[in-house]
Structure formats: C-alpha cells, structure tokens
C-alpha cells in the first residue's frame, strides 16, 4: 500500500544496487550454529568466485566453532534464501545466480552446534 502523506512520497532505496559502486550485498548464514548470532554481510563484485566466499569469508568467520573442522563439504546443503542450489566453486557469484542482497544459507548435516544445541 502507498504511504498516506500530505505531499508526494517517493524515495530511492537506501540500499539500491547503484549505491555500492559495482559491488553487491551478500548475506551468509551457517544454519544451526547460532553462536554467531546472525548472518554476516559482505559487499563484493559479482565476479567474485564462489570458492573465495567459502575459503576466505566463511572460513574466517566460522572456523572458531569446533564443528567447522568436522564439516564434510561434499554433503553441505546450500540455499539461496529458501531455494536449494548447487554452487559451482570455480564460477562467480553472478554465474551461480547470486544477486544483490541474496542470503546464502548452508546446512551441515549431522552438525548441530555445541552439544546439539543449535549454537
């Protein structure tokens, strides 16, 4: 619905793609590992390879967790929001269909956090 207002009410989104100068926002969450409290955010060029996401950003953030070393990467389930997909590590975010403000969620079967608590 439109905002009720006394004057024309139209604004540009504060996080529109063009405000990121060639980069796009990406959110990353490790499911059932809530020790990290919330997903983290990145601004990256769409040409960034998916392997960089895993080897650099995911590893830097999540390797503190004792489950991280136990991940069997061949069994990881990847989702873009609620849609399951199979990323190609060698290809870019764009080629993997990942756009501005997408949320990448990954589930590591059999690993449910400290003492199975989800944390």
């Amino acid at each position: 619905m439109a905002v009720k207002a006394l004057a024309p009410y139209e604004f540009q989104s504060r996080d529109a793609l063009e405000r990121y100068k060639g980069k796009q926002l990406l959110f990353i969450n490790w499911e059932r590992h809530r020790m990290f409290s919330r997903p983290f955010i990145l601004a990256l060029p769409p040409e960034t390879s998916f392997s960089e996401i895993v080897d650099k950003y995911i590893t830097d953030c999540f390797s503190y967790h004792p489950d991280f070393a136990r991940i069997d990467w061949s069994k990881v389930v990847w989702q873009n929001s609620n849609t399951v997909f199979t990323p190609d590590r060698a290809r870019s975010l764009k080629d993997n269909g990942i756009g501005h403000k997408d949320l990448i969620r990954f589930t590591t079967p059999g690993l449910d956090g400290i003492a199975g608590s989800g944390y």
């Binding site: 009720k4 009410y9 989104s13 996080d15 809530r34 020790m35 955010i41 608590s117």
Partner: protein, 514 residues
C-alpha cells in the same frame, strides 16, 4: 459598603479557562488548512469536545508539581555524588547497564519531547493540545535528568561521553532510533498510538522495572531517584495514550481498522525494542530482581492482556503478535546477550560470560529452554576464555529492514534455527526478522526502503572519519568504523581485565582499607 468579593474559581472552571478556553477556531484561514495533519491518516473526528481530560491538570499546577519533584531529585543526586555513591553499587559490571541505558534511552526521550511538541501543534482540540504540551515538557525533563544522574559516573568509568554522537550511528542503537523515527514521521494519531499507547501503556513498565528497581536493588540511588521521578509522570502519559485510543474509537466506526493496524504494528515494534531490556534484566544486573520472562508475564501478558480485554468492547482484538511474544519470552534475552557477547569490539560497554551461579539462576528461571539451548554455548565460551581465546566475531551484521534489530531471533517453533523472511519491492530484495516486521514493510514499503542500517552504510563508504579515501581499492570499512563511532577502546572488550573492573576494585579498597 459591601465589598464584592469575586468567587474563587472551582477546579473545573479553572481547568476550562486554562485549557479549552485558550483554543479558538480560525477565521482568516479555514480550519482544515491550519490543521491538515488530523485528517490525512484517515481518522474521522466529529466532535473534539468529546475528548475527556483524565487529569484536568492546568499549566500553573503542572509547574508547581514538577519543580517540587526536581528539587527533591537534585538534592538526592548531590548527596549521592558527594558521598562517592558510585562505589556503593553491587559490582562494577552494573555500570554497563548505565552505559547501555544512556545510549539507548535519553535520546529517545528527547525524540518523544519533539514528537509531542509536534502533535500538540497538529491536534485541533484544546484538551489534547495542552496534554501534549505537558507531556513534551515531561519527556524533555526525563531526557535531562537521566543524563544528569549518569554524568557523575562518566567521571570514573569509560564509554559514556559519546552517547549523543553514537545514537544515530551505532548498530545496536539503530532499533530504538528507528522506532522513534518511524513514529515521529507518522501522522499525529499514529504517533499517539505508537508512543502514547503502545510504548507508554503496554511496554514502559518493562523498561522501567529493570532500570529503576534494578538500580535500587544494586545500590544506585541516583538512577533510582531519577526513575521514580519519571515514573510519576508516566501515569499521566499512559492515561493520555489510552484516552486517545478511546476517543478515536468512539468518534467513528471507520477508525477501528486503522487503530487496530497501528496497535498491531506498535506492539510488535515495542516488543522488538525490549529484547535488549530483557538482556539487561537477565544478564547485566549483578543482583537480579526478576527474570525478563516473569516481567513479561506480569506486565505484558497480565496487565497488557487486561487492557486489550477492556478495549474489546470497542472491537479491538488482541495484537496479532501476542502469541509469538509468549513463545519468545523464553528466548529473546539469551539471544540478545549472545549477540552482544560475540561482538566485544563494537559496543561502548563490556560483556561477559555469566558466572556458574548466574548460569544456575538462569536455568532455574528458564527451565524449558536455558539448559537445552543456551547453557552449552556459555560453558564453551568460558572454557575458550580460559584458554585465551575469548570469542570475537569480527564480521558485520545483517539487520531487519523494519525493526533494524540484527537478524538473530529464532524461527517460531524451532529455537535452533534463525527466522528469515523476505519480500521483493521494485526489483529489490528486503529481509526481515519476523512475519510481523514483513507485514509492516508491505503496508508502507516506501517508508522502510529508507531505513538506515549501520553495516550497509559502512559498506557504501559512508562511515569513515574525514580524510579516509573510501574509494581506495584496499578500503576496509571495518578498520575505520570504531573511529567513526568515536568508540573509546577502553570501554570495549570483555569485562574481565577491563580498566573499569580494576579501578572500581582499587577505589573501593581505598574506601574500606588502609
């Protein structure tokens, strides 16, 4: 000769002369041009004189009462400060409650003062205009007295001096700022529901229970006195908010769906704002009064529930979020503290892992959830801290587009999973922490696409101190954000090992030993 003595005015006459009688209908300009804000929200008012003034307070009496309160308050503050009262609090961890409160509350009191000043101008009837004027002055008084009471602590403890600068910039203050920005940019009637009703009536008690009673329980006479002085105004505020709701509902049946939507929206926004209050109660007070869950049951479920039952005769239904808040009362305080603990470099107050006795208290207060979901991670962190590996999540958060909380709450019915909701508006994706925030967005997307999210702004290069080239290829926003926030490094990190901890212990020793 007989002297003709004028009869002393009765309370009712005096009230009429000093309030409604001061208002008039304009003739040079039509009323709807002078007061355009009272119609555009869709609320229909047929007779402003039907507004009931619950307190019948006039400005002259108001000044008298308030100045008396101020005199008492400042006498106690002086005595407390001159007597080194800060050393009589339970434990130096308590100061962190003051730091969190100072950043998150007085600036919002100021926003409330601005809001009620605006609404006082926008309303047509003399009754509501005078009531709004008094509430604006009250809010301004709360803003000042809160800062005055905490300023003495600022001489001794780190992290309090930049709260005004940080209010509109720091990630964890964005939820409160967004709450008031949303309210103050709405029309006058929505503002009254947001602040006068949902915040004052349904939620303020929960904010003031941990602060006032917590302050008293932990030996802080200064903050306690400020709290009581403010709380005596709150009774008037709550009545004004409720009166406004009843007035709208009695004036026209078409007002009901609009008011219902506002009640749903603002009860939820207030609930989200209170997650960090829950953590104050359960984690930050060295001596605890009651758990957040108990406070929620008493003040929201019972008192708030009774209020909604009372409003049922006007056709108001209990807010849609009510059921979800009941499930969440078992979780939100823990999820909030985890969210702050894991980010030790990004707040001007300290965090810590609760002691083993405190963990036991939490298990006792939260038998359904604490041991199952939260105790293991705290015990793990305590162990890691002993090994010199205190947790520090260096990444930047994802925030909800509406409440601007970090996206950290659980999926309803599944405490092990985070709740995510999203929608697409004009080709862009927007993320939310809950169904209720998503609903709020979808009703007024043009409003919420403007949301200020600290991490996103940093990534756009808008949060670096002057002189930093945000377009340099190696620009890393995380390196500059603390300077941009003017964050005092001594106030960050774990409480254990902090300067506050050492100084408090040394000063207290001086007071009690040779």
């Amino acid at each position: 000769m007989d002297m003709k003595v004028a009869k002393k005015l009765g309370l009712k006459e005096r009230y009429t002369l000093m309030t409604r009688d001061l208002a008039w209908d304009t003739t040079y300009q039509p009323m709807d041009k002078v007061f355009p804000q009272v119609t555009y929200e869709g609320i229909k008012i047929h007779d402003w004189d039907k507004w009931e003034d619950p307190f019948r307070l006039t400005m002259d009496a108001y000044w008298k009462y308030q100045s008396e309160k101020e005199r008492k308050l400042y006498a106690i503050l002086d005595a407390f400060n001159q007597n080194n009262g800060h050393l009589s609090v339970t434990d130096a961890r308590y100061m962190n409650v003051l730091k969190l409160f100072l950043g998150s509350t007085p600036p919002l009191e100021l926003m409330a003062a601005r809001g009620f000043s605006m609404v006082g101008r926008q309303m047509v009837g003399g009754g509501p205009r005078v009531a709004c004027q008094m509430q604006a002055v009250d809010e301004y008084r709360h803003f000042q007295t809160q800062i005055h009471s905490i300023s003495n602590y600022n001489k001794y403890y780190h992290g309090m001096d930049e709260f005004a600068h940080q209010q509109s910039r720091m990630w964890y203050l964005s939820d409160g700022k967004s709450f008031f920005d949303d309210a103050i940019t709405a029309g006058p009637f929505e503002f009254m529901v947001a602040i006068g009703f949902a915040f004052e009536y349904v939620l303020t008690n929960i904010l003031f229970v941990p602060f006032i009673s917590g302050a008293a329980y932990n030996g802080d006479m200064a903050a306690m006195t400020v709290g009581f002085s403010a709380q005596s105004d709150e009774a008037r505020h709550m009545t004004l908010g409720l009166e406004c709701i009843k007035f709208m509902l009695e004036q026209d049946p078409d007002n009901l769906p609009i008011v219902q939507r506002w009640i749903d929206k603002w009860t939820w926004r207030g609930t989200r704002k209170l997650a960090s209050v829950g953590m104050m109660m359960d984690y930050m007070l060295p001596k605890r009064i009651m758990s957040f869950k108990e406070a929620w049951e008493m003040y929201f479920e019972q008192n708030g529930g009774a209020l909604f039952t009372d409003l049922a005769r006007y056709g108001i239904k209990i807010p849609q979020c009510f059921t979800q808040t009941i499930e969440e009362k078992e979780h939100v305080s823990h999820q909030s503290w985890i969210g702050f603990y894991m980010k030790p470099d990004a707040t001007p107050f300290h965090t810590w892992v609760p002691t083993p006795e405190e963990l036991d208290w939490l298990s006792e207060k939260y038998p359904n959830t604490f041991d199952k979901y939260y105790r293991p991670v705290y015990e793990y962190w305590a162990q890691m801290e002993k090994e010199g590996k205190r947790f520090n999540n260096r990444t930047q958060p994802m925030n909800c587009q509406v409440c601007v909380s970090t996206v950290k709450f659980n999926e309803p019915g599944d405490p092990m999973s985070t709740c995510f909701r999203e929608t697409v508006y004009k080709g862009e994706k927007f993320h939310f922490c809950s169904d209720h925030c998503k609903d709020i967005f979808e009703h007024e997307p043009e409003k919420y696409i403007q949301t200020y999210i600290s991490s996103n702004q940093a990534l756009q290069g808008n949060c670096a101190p002057e002189g930093v080239d945000v377009n340099a290829p190696d620009f890393n926003p995380g390196e500059h954000i603390a300077a941009y926030w003017r964050l005092d490094k001594r106030a960050t990190g774990d409480f254990n090992g902090s300067e506050d901890q050492k100084n408090f212990a040394a000063w207290r020793d001086q007071a009690t030993k040779n």
